[in-house]
Subunit: 299 residues, 2 copies
């Protein structure tokens, strides 16, 4: 179960040398490291103890390493290795952003293998959840358990372009993530402000924001994924690992019906839905989410 | 939050006197106690420490105190008062079993007040989940939080008679709860056998099994509840307490669609669904369920 350790990282694992002690490191202050292979230099941050099955985070549409919530990532890293990274073409990673989930999954698998891991847990959020499903289905032995948050199955329901257009029209919002990730309730918007404060805490060596060279192919990949039918959930049924499916009650881009459909299509899934929350339910309910993830991973 | 304590129980609280120390007591060995009022003598068992909001358990169709799973009840009582009881007409309680959820809720409220509690948490399973909804909606101040397991909203989907008929036709089953509460998978049936062993562990002072005088009015109450439409979830919206809704993936009597509908109709609900499990999902996944309940109640 814990065959992979951070100390197995190869010598080109980054400025820290070939054995990293990342215990106690925090997302906001940990150095960004690099690993290169197959023509792509991947940027990542490693947190947590060296021992245990590493939890690899797969990021949402347009997001980079600094778009993860330190309240989620640091607490998860309290008792397991956690790896946040930029997939090919994103943030400080080299290469090009591909326009298909399949190619993104191939890049993520390359990265995981470059770190020397033979078995990992995956936490995929939104676009990253599609990539996690693809890896679990096609590279089954690499994945022990997977957590799918705010995401959609193949053939799922998405309202990406309409919701993005509406959000960008709200010029008053100080950050597009307030209307995109949180509901209109006072409690959710307040949680959104707290989230923004946390993700902005890092001041040195911040990751690079996504441009159209990232978001255009990512949007195409996600929309194509949702436009590809999966008759009788054949694709989901190819995923045999234990899965935890999580969604907010009022996700406007990838509605909670997707989560319920994934729960029903997967052979071994738990479903957890949170109240009064949108696409960023995992950040709004971060304490609860971390507790649920740890319960799931430790079971 | 913790205004009610077991020591507030009145002097007629049972053979143990007016202040019970139930810390460390177990469902299998705790004495059955009695409290009387309004013409009904209620049988109950009290577990757990005196301090904290009491968790009152509302039992399923045909079930008595000994139909609760000690693995669930004892672990929940590790850090809060837990009360299992027979509602009017059931088991060792006096009175008549009414044929409506409304009347059952009235009886349960009488019992809770007889114990001197001004605020409780409710865990309602199946029929007990309907009673819990009724209490939360109509006696709001009495309920802090509620947990609704394997149950249905007003107007929900039920297949009670058809599934019971099918289960009773399987003469080979050593206990009707194996086909009713567990799926056909080897894992679920094995969990069912373990459950039966746990609920049969008590040998002295066992509760009395239900006869038609209990099950006929209970069946009418449950079927009537599900046959009563709740346009636009008006009834669910009257419930404002935090709720945790739980169901098994393959509940044949009260399908998981009910849980998803309750999650959507309630204003402040979490939803948790378990894989490969039937009506008795809380007993099959008892460790996970207890952890989730404690996380919910302690938040």
């Amino acid at each position: 179960m814990t065959s992979s350790v951070l100390s197995a990282r190869p010598a080109n694992g980054g400025p820290g040398g070939n054995t990293l002690n990342t215990e106690g490191a925090m997302l906001e202050t940990a150095p960004t490291r690099y690993v290169e292979g197959g023509g792509v230099r991947f940027a990542y941050r490693a947190l947590g103890p060296a021992k245990g099955t590493p939890l690899v985070l797969l990021q949402h549409f347009s997001g980079n390493i600094d778009a993860w919530d330190p309240a989620v990532v640091n607490r998860l890293a309290a008792d397991r290795p956690v790896i946040a990274f930029d997939n090919a073409g994103v943030g400080r990673s080299g290469g090009q952003t591909p326009d298909s989930i399949e190619a993104m999954a191939g890049d993520a698998v390359s990265f995981i293998k470059l770190l020397g891991f033979s078995e990992v847990d995956l936490l995929g959020f939104s676009l990253g959840g599609c990539v996690a499903q693809e890896i679990a289905a096609k590279h089954g032995r690499l994945v022990r358990k997977l957590i799918l948050v705010g995401t959609a199955p193949k053939g799922g329901e998405e309202h990406l372009l309409a919701v993005l257009q509406d959000a960008f029209s709200q010029a008053a919002a100080p950050d597009i993530r307030l209307p995109l990730f949180f509901t209109k309730s006072a409690a959710s918007q307040s949680a959104g402000q707290a989230f923004l404060k946390r993700v902005r805490a890092r001041t040195e060596d911040r990751d690079i924001e996504s441009t159209k060279a990232v978001t255009d192919p990512q949007a195409k990949a996600l929309i194509t994924w949702c436009a590809t039918p999966d008759p009788d959930h054949g694709f989901l049924r190819a995923i045999t690992q234990p899965a935890l499916v999580v969604s907010g009650s009022h996700d406007t881009m990838l509605p909670a019906d997707n989560a319920y459909a994934m729960f029903k299509g997967l052979s071994n899934a738990q479903l957890i839905l949170y109240p009064d929350s949108g696409h960023g339910a995992l950040f709004q309910h971060h304490e609860l989410f971390v507790t649920h993830v740890r319960t799931f991973l430790d079971a």
